[in-house]
């Protein structure tokens, strides 16, 4: 009954209302067989709502879905899966303590009588995964493998159970370069099998690398669908934002740097980070570069006292200081925006207002509450200067988009008027508009004389704002780049040089 000329999935006029807002307004989406289709848009544009309507998580309020030429009406994820629409989310939805094979066949294990045919299951899993180009022992617990492999297992499970449409929601967000490559080869293979694939990501490079077409959403409406080989990144960004971005994100880098502010002397923690020394000057942005797990986050946490160092000393303005807890750090004028916004940054249920004044209030102590008028003044000031978009200050912060949450966290720390601002992945998972604004903000803060330590996996970003880049690998410092030497190529070289060095040993 399959007809190759028909699109695999044809959704028309999809609408979804939430109280007071129109989340999706008459959205059309067409997926062809063997097509990798990017779904793009800023945070809150309606990407995930559209996916949830297609997979039955939400009931759509209007529109029709044709799958393989037949009208379907998915009512739950299970239902959509059995119809042929499989989904893989950014956070792998598998059970890490079960084996790879068990994860693949959970709920549909091959049986021998009343027992699970374990050997047959493992064999089938091995063959199936080999088909995706990964050769692993499926009898091992899933948690023993990298996130990329887990991601592939999730994809394999989704494809075997569904097999017509595969939706990948930010699959590459926590993967490093090699892992992305592995994942892309798997996705390309699925494309050749004629599966229609939806790819959602914030990384435009990956979109152009992998996808055939892109549909761009803005404010719940489709603003365009493009064949990617006919357009440039700039065109797509313009579609997403509805305005032209001036240039590639860049901060006004001022070369003038002041006196040494923070001197870190062989700070380290065994098993976590080798002792390192670092001097940060006033008005200087020091970047921390390295692959995932190289020690970027660990460095920022040690400096901030979030993890207690077991060796080393710190001097602030030439005076010895002891930082054994974030509280100490805050008292000395440090601030840290952590990598994991949700679990370590925001206080989800508290209002944006409370989130913004929290650090200042914590530093003042509970006996000296900030007067309500002052609180409003501070919150409104930062909402204005950082352009935080919200309905009002009473909204719980968890309801804001990623970019706005990040800005509110920056506001929380800027309100304490810090001398040393540590940013760990300040632009992760936020939309492109907020991205550029945060980078510009880093430049402004630097010019105001703040010392910044910024850990980032985005090399172009570091190149844009850092005066100095420390390269980390395997939890130790392996290189330092200054001034004009800071280029993506040199950073990669610094990381790779060490690899070669180790290979020789």
């Amino acid at each position: 009954m399959t007809n190759d000329s028909l699109p695999m999935l044809h959704a028309t006029g999809i609408s979804k209302f939430f109280p007071g807002t129109i989340a999706l307004d008459d959205v059309d989406l067409t997926l062809h067989r063997g097509e990798i289709h990017a779904l793009l848009g800023e945070n809150g544009a309606g990407k995930s709502t559209l996916i949830k309507c297609l997979t039955g998580v939400y009931r759509r309020d209007g529109g029709a879905i044709m799958l393989d030429g037949q009208t379907v009406d998915p009512t739950s994820t299970n239902h959509s899966q059995s119809l042929g629409i499989g989904t893989v989310y950014q956070e792998v939805n598998l059970l890490p303590n079960l084996t790879v094979a068990e994860n693949l066949y959970l709920g549909r294990q091959p049986m021998r009588g009343p027992f699970v045919a374990r050997r047959a299951m493992n064999e089938a899993a091995r063959t199936s995964l080999k088909g995706f180009g990964i050769d692993i022992d499926p009898a091992q617990p899933l948690s023993t493998y990298s996130v990329a492999v887990q991601q592939v297992v999730a994809i394999a499970r989704a494809v075997e159970m569904s097999g017509k449409v595969l939706i990948l929601d930010e699959p590459t967000a926590s993967l490093d370069l090699d892992e992305v490559k592995l994942l892309f080869s798997v996705i390309r293979q699925l494309k050749s099998r004629g599966i229609a694939i939806v790819f959602i990501t914030h990384f435009l490079d990956q979109v152009f690398d992998l996808c055939d077409r892109a549909t761009v959403l803005r404010n719940g409406q489709v603003v365009g669908s493009r064949v990617l080989k006919d357009v440039s990144q700039r065109d797509i960004v313009t579609l997403m934002l509805g305005r032209q971005l001036d240039t590639a994100p860049s901060a006004a880098k001022s070369a003038a740097v002041g006196a040494p502010l923070l001197q870190i002397e062989s700070l380290g923690k065994s098993g976590m980070l080798d002792p390192f020394s670092l001097t940060i000057r006033k008005g200087e942005v020091v970047g921390l570069a390295g692959l995932l797990g190289s020690g970027r986050t660990e460095t920022s946490k040690l400096v901030f006292g979030a993890v207690r160092a077991d060796s080393g000393t710190m001097k602030l303005n030439g005076k010895d200081i002891s930082v054994t807890s974030p509280r100490d750090a805050v008292a000395h004028g440090f601030a840290l925006c952590p990598e994991d916004r949700k679990t370590e940054g925001i206080i989800g249920d508290l209002s944006v207002r409370d989130n913004i004044v929290l650090a200042l209030q914590a530093r003042q102590g509970w006996l000296r509450p900030i007067p309500r008028r002052k609180v409003d003044e501070i919150a409104e000031h930062y909402v204005r200067t950082l352009d935080i978009r919200l309905a009002n200050l009473d909204v719980p912060i968890r309801l804001l988009s990623g970019g706005n949450q990040q800005k509110a966290l920056l506001a929380r720390w800027l309100a304490t008027d810090p001398d040393v601002l540590i940013l760990d992945e300040p632009t992760r998972g936020i939309d492109i508009g907020a991205h550029a604004e945060i980078i510009a903000l880093i430049g402004r803060l630097q010019q105001d004389g703040m010392a910044l330590l910024v850990a980032s996996s985005e090399m172009e970003e570091l190149v844009a704002y850092a005066n100095r880049v420390i390269v980390l690998r395997d939890r130790k410092q392996v290189g330092e780049l200054v001034g004009a030497d800071i280029t993506s190529v040199n950073i990669i070289k610094a990381i790779a040089a060490e690899t070669r060095h180790e290979a020789l040993q």
């Binding site: 209302f17 901030f304 974030p326 370590e344 206080i347 989800g348 409370d354 914590a362």
Partner: protein, 344 residues
């Protein structure tokens, strides 16, 4: 929408309380009649306020503990320990004020014990406080040496059975301590900081909040509240009963907090709503008592009434209401339009 957020927060509790009080009036028409006799106010509504004192005192600390994502199962046992301490001190001939101070100190110590287990040794609150819940009655028995320790010290008895200006002392104690606590957490930054560690302790710590000390403090407050409740109960019956003082009252206190609309998962809290919850529970007790139903029905009816209250407040039910309200799509004109902007 001119209602203040505070009123809006406690509206459900006020409505439920009104309904339960109405039930009281249905079974006893002169429920609200208050008489002034022998220098003391008498009446069923006064009884509700008076009998509800222990639960009300417990639920203040319990609200704070639960706001930090914790729970304090030991408060009933701490009541017994504090009561036993106070009784044994006056029996030994100490002044009643010394006895009360001693009981409060013991309560604070018990709270500090819980707090250290939770905040510093990172033991799950339900397990950590279970230790004292079980051991506490034993400790109380050791203090009373296994007997019901009776006393005749008028100063101490006055705290449980006496009156000030005609109003029973327990009412004045819980009203003043309850409003002091409610005032304190909202007028200082304590409320914000407690809510913040209850919602996300990791984030709060990174924001520079001293979460451990704060956690310790809420358990100490809970212990002191329990001690006050224990003294009142002991003074009321003029004797310390290690086995029965405050028995199962920790559950009433938790229930009061839940009826007060506070989530057991921590975060936003309202002490006033919990206090209303305590009064709701006491009013339910009162309905059962006044209806003249056979006593064997009491617990079942109480359970049913409370189940009804909880079902009304359940997130699922409110979600259904939300869905019903939301099912009509907003008209397209709801998009920002200049007229609306002007109105603001």
């Amino acid at each position: 929408m001119t209602r203040s957020p505070f009123l809006k927060r406690i509206t459900p509790q006020l409505i439920i309380l009104a309904i339960v009080l109405l039930l009281n009036v249905l079974v006893l028409p002169d429920f609200f009649t208050v008489k002034f006799q022998n220098g003391r106010l008498f009446g069923n509504i006064i009884d509700v306020l008076n009998r509800g004192a222990p639960t009300a005192l417990l639920c203040v600390g319990m609200t704070l503990v639960i706001a930090t994502k914790g729970i304090d199962l030991s408060v009933g046992a701490v009541m017994a320990i504090a009561g036993a301490t106070a009784a044994s001190l006056v029996v030994e001939g100490q002044h009643w004020t010394t006895a009360v101070m001693g009981a409060l100190a013991v309560g604070a110590l018990c709270g500090a014990w819980n707090g250290i287990l939770v905040a510093f040794l990172r033991i799950q609150p339900i397990v950590a406080t279970l230790v004292l819940m079980v051991a506490g009655r034993g400790i109380a028995q050791l203090i009373t040496e296994g007997t019901i320790l009776t006393f005749l010290d008028q100063g101490l008895i006055h705290l449980g059975a006496g009156t000030v200006l005609g109003i029973p002392t327990p009412i004045l104690i819980w009203l003043s301590l309850g409003s002091f606590a409610a005032f304190l957490v909202r007028r200082t930054a304590l409320g914000l900081l407690i809510e913040s560690i209850g919602i996300n302790e990791a984030s709060s710590r990174l924001a520079g909040i001293n979460s451990r000390v704060l956690l310790l403090c809420v358990y100490v407050v809970s212990g002191i509240g329990a001690a006050v409740a224990g003294v009142i109960v002991t003074a009321d019956i003029q004797g310390a009963d290690a086995n029965n003082a405050g028995l199962w009252l920790e559950l009433d206190a938790i229930l009061a907090v839940v009826i007060g609309g506070n989530s057991l998962l921590g975060g936003k809290f309202s002490i006033v709503a919990s206090l209303l919850g305590a009064m709701i529970i006491q009013s339910v007790n009162s309905v059962i008592l006044l209806s003249g139903m056979p006593p064997e029905f009491n617990l079942v009816i109480k359970a049913l009434l409370i189940l009804a209250i909880l079902v009304i407040q359940s997130p699922k039910v409110s979600h259904i209401i939300y869905i019903l309200r939301a099912s009509t799509p907003p008209a397209k004109v709801d998009r920002p339009n200049p007229a609306k902007e002007l109105k603001r």
